[in-house]
C-alpha cells in the first residue's frame, strides 16, 4: 500500500464546504423543529460503541461496520445506525422511564463501502424511535411524522412504500409448512431476485393453486385495493397483518398523508431485524431510498428491556440531493478597515451583528487582493483613511 497523498481521504469520507453546510443547517433546523413539535425529544449517543453490543444488535451487515480496537483489545465500532444505541440507552440510562418513550436523533452514522466510491461512508441521519407502543396508532404516527418531516423540508414528489413482514412470514409458513422453507423464499425476496423466486416456487412440490398464490404475491403493489388482493391470497396466515395495514391506512388518512403511501407486500429489506410493518421512501431522480424504517419488536430484548418499537431514519445527504439545494439566502457583509479606524470598524460590526447580520471585519493590510476579496461579499463597507466617514459601496 502506498502512503496516501495529503489531499486524500479514506474511501467514502466527504467534506462539507460552507455553502452545503449552511443549506444542511437550514434543512436540519426545519426537520428538528417538526419532530420536536410532535413531542419527540432529541438525544445524542457516542460515536464509538462496543462491537459485541451495538455492533451485533444493529441491522447493518457485519461487513459494513467500521471496526477498531481500544487499548484493552476490545473491538469497537463506529455507530452504524442510531436505533441500536437508542435501544441501549432506553434499556440502561433511561430504564426507569416508563413506556412509551419518544426519542429523536440527528447524528452521523458510519457504514464502510467496500466496493467502490460514489456513496458516502459517513452520513447524517435524522430520525425517531417510538419505543414501548405496539399499536397501529404508533405505526401511523411514525409514518405520518416521516412524511410530514420530508414535506416540511421542502420535498414534494415522493412515495413511501409500506410492507409487512408478518404477512410474508405467515403466508409462507401457511403454504410451505415450516419456517426453513419459508426462509428460503424470503431470501429470494431479500436479494430482490424475483426470477429466482419464481423458478424456485415452480420447482416446489405444491398444488398449482398454492404456486399461483406465491407467484401472485410479487404483484401485490399499489394502493389500498391491494389489501383486498392480499386477503384473497391467504387462508388464515397474514390476516392479522392485513387488518393491521387496513387500520394503518385509515389512520394515515386522518393524518392526510395517504396519497404518499403505496402498499408493497414484496418489501423485505432485512432477513431478521424487522417484525411488523416496514417502509421505505423514494423520490424522483434519486436511485436509493432516502428514508426507511419499520417495526422491530426484538431489538430491545437484546438489551434486556423488551419492548415493541418502531422508528424511521431519513438520510440527510440524499434528502439534500433530492431537494437540489437552493443557495442559502443569508448574505454576508464585510467591513474592510485600516488600522487607524479599527475602533469604528468594530463598533460598526457590533451594530450590524445586533441587527442579525453576518459580518466579517477585515484589516485591509491582511488582504492581498482587495478587489478579489471584496467580490465574495454581498455588501462591502470600507472604513479606511484618516477621515472618520467610511465610504460605503
Amino acid at each position: 500500500m502506498s502512503k496516501p497523498f495529503v489531499f486524500e481521504k479514506p474511501m467514502g469520507m466527504r467534506d462539507t464546504l460552507p455553502v452545503l453546510y449552511q443549506v444542511k443547517q437550514q434543512v436540519r433546523t426545519v426537520m428538528e423543529q417538526e419532530i420536536r413539535e410532535w413531542g419527540y425529544q432529541f438525544i445524542q449517543t457516542p460515536t464509538l460503541e462496543y462491537y459485541d453490543t451495538v455492533g451485533e444488535a444493529s441491522a447493518i451487515l457485519d461487513q459494513q461496520l467500521f471496526k477498531l480496537l481500544d487499548s484493552e483489545g476490545k473491538t469497537l465500532v463506529l455507530r452504524p445506525d442510531m436505533t441500536a444505541p437508542i435501544a441501549r440507552v432506553v434499556s440502561s440510562s433511561m430504564k426507569d422511564v416508563s413506556y412509551p418513550i419518544r426519542l429523536a436523533y440527528d447524528s452521523a452514522v458510519f457504514r464502510s463501502q467496500q466496493r467502490e466510491g460514489g456513496r458516502p461512508a459517513e452520513f447524517e441521519q435524522v430520525g425517531v424511535e417510538l419505543i414501548g407502543d405496539g399499536t397501529s396508532s404508533a405505526d401511523a404516527e411514525v409514518i405520518a411524522l416521516m412524511v410530514s418531516t420530508l414535506s416540511k423540508a421542502g420535498l414534494q414528489e415522493f412515495k413511501v412504500a409500506v410492507g409487512h413482514i408478518g404477512f410474508l412470514n405467515e403466508l409462507f409458513v401457511e403454504i410451505l409448512g415450516n419456517e426453513d422453507r419459508a426462509e428460503e423464499l424470503l431470501r429470494y425476496l431479500y436479494e430482490k431476485n424475483y426470477v429466482g423466486y419464481a423458478s424456485h416456487v415452480k420447482s416446489l412440490p405444491l398444488s398449482s393453486i398454492d404456486k399461483k398464490r406465491l407467484l401472485d404475491l410479487l404483484h401485490l403493489r399499489g394502493g389500498e385495493e391491494v389489501l383486498k388482493l392480499a386477503e384473497d391470497l391467504t387462508a388464515v396466515g397474514g390476516r392479522k397483518a392485513i387488518s393491521d395495514l387496513r387500520e394503518l391506512f385509515n389512520i394515515l388518512e386522518l393524518y392526510g398523508v395517504q396519497d404518499k403511501i403505496v402498499l408493497d407486500f414484496t418489501l423485505f429489506s432485512h432477513m431478521s431485524y424487522y417484525t411488523g410493518i416496514v417502509f421505505e421512501g423514494y423520490t424522483n431522480e434519486l436511485g436509493f431510498p432516502l428514508c426507511s424504517g419499520g417495526r422491530y419488536d426484538q431489538l430491545l430484548g437484546e438489551f434486556g428491556r423488551s419492548a415493541q418499537a418502531i422508528g424511521f431514519g431519513i438520510r440527510l445527504d440524499y434528502l439534500l440531493e433530492a431537494l437540489s439545494a437552493k443557495e442559502p439566502s443569508a448574505s454576508r457583509s464585510c467591513i474592510i478597515f485600516s488600522a487607524e479606524n479599527r475602533k469604528e470598524a468594530i463598533a460598526k460590526s457590533r451594530e450590524l451583528r445586533e441587527q442579525g447580520r453576518s459580518v466579517v471585519v477585515q484589516d485591509i493590510s491582511g488582504v492581498g487582493n482587495v478587489d478579489e476579496y471584496s467580490g465574495r461579499f454581498q455588501e462591502v463597507i470600507y472604513v479606511i483613511g484618516k477621515s472618520e466617514k467610511g465610504g460605503a459601496q
Binding site: 423520490t283 434519486l286 436511485g287
Partner: protein
C-alpha cells in the same frame, strides 16, 4: 430531466436479441437503432432513453439509479451482486458458466490457479465445492491462460463450446445456466411503477409465446 424511462442496454452479444424482443413487445425502435454509434439514444415514441454500456457495467448504472431499468446477463448479476431487482428472465443469449481446462492437465496440488473474468463467481463456486483455489482475474481471451501455463483451469461462459474446442480445452464442470434478465432500480420500481410494470408485462408475454413455440 425528462420523464423518459432510461434503459441500460448491454453492447455486444446480447444487444441485438434484446432490441428484437423490445420490438416484438411493441416498442417502436427505428431500424437505424442498431447502427448508431451514439451512447445515449432517445426514442420519444417508445417513451425511452437508451444508454449503451459494457455488459458488466449495466447493473452499476441501474443500482445508482442513472438508469431505471437494464438488461443484464445472469453471469454479470452473479459477479456484481448489485442491489437491484431482477424481475424477468428474458431467456435470451443462452449460455452457461463452466470450468474448463486442458484434457491432460496435471493439477497444481498446493495452489490450483483459476483464470477468469468472474473472480467472485469462481471464488464462490470453488468454496462451495470445498476446494481452495487462487483466482487470477483476466479481462478476455481466458482460454489462453491454461494454454500457456498461467492457470490450471478457467471459469468462463460457454455458448457453443467452439472456442474451447478449437483451443484444445475441455469442459470439466458446468456451474450454471445463464440467460439475460430485466433488472430494475429499487427507487424507480416504485416511482415509475406504472411504466415499468407495463414493460415487464409486455416483455413477459413475448417471452412466454416464444417458450410455447419451443
Amino acid at each position: 430531466m425528462s420523464s423518459l424511462l432510461t434503459v441500460a442496454m448491454p453492447k455486444g452479444r446480447i444487444f441485438q436479441e434484446a432490441v428484437e424482443l423490445l420490438r416484438q413487445a411493441g416498442y417502436p425502435l427505428p431500424p437505424e437503432f442498431e447502427d448508431s454509434r451514439k451512447l445515449i439514444i432517445e426514442i420519444e415514441e417508445a417513451g425511452m432513453r437508451f444508454i449503451l454500456a459494457k455488459p458488466m457495467d449495466v447493473p452499476t448504472y441501474v443500482e445508482h439509479g442513472v438508469a431505471d431499468v437494464g438488461i443484464a446477463g445472469k453471469d454479470v448479476m452473479l459477479e456484481e451482486e448489485r442491489d437491484v431487482y431482477e424481475v424477468l428472465d428474458l431467456k435470451i443469449s443462452d449460455c452457461y458458466l463452466a470450468v474448463a481446462g486442458l484434457p491432460e492437465q496435471k493439477e497444481h496440488s498446493v495452489a490450483p490457479k483459476i483464470a477468469t473474468k468472474y473472480p467472485n463467481v469462481a471464488a464462490h463456486y470453488f468454496r462451495e465445492q470445498g476446494e481452495q483455489v487462487e483466482i487470477i482475474k483476466l479481462n478476455g481471451s481466458i482460454e489462453l491462460a491454461p494454454l500457456i501455463g498461467l492457470a490450471d483451469r478457467i471459469v468462463d461462459i460457454v455458448s457453443t463450446g467452439r472456442t474451447l474446442k478449437e483451443n484444445g480445452l475441455v469442459e470439466l464442470e458446468k456451474i450454471r445456466e445463464i440467460t439475460s434478465r430485466i433488472i430494475v432500480n429499487p427507487a424507480s420500481y416504485r416511482m415509475k411503477a406504472g411504466v415499468i410494470d407495463e414493460l415487464v408485462k409486455r416483455l413477459s408475454k413475448v417471452v412466454e409465446s416464444k417458450e410455447e413455440i419451443k
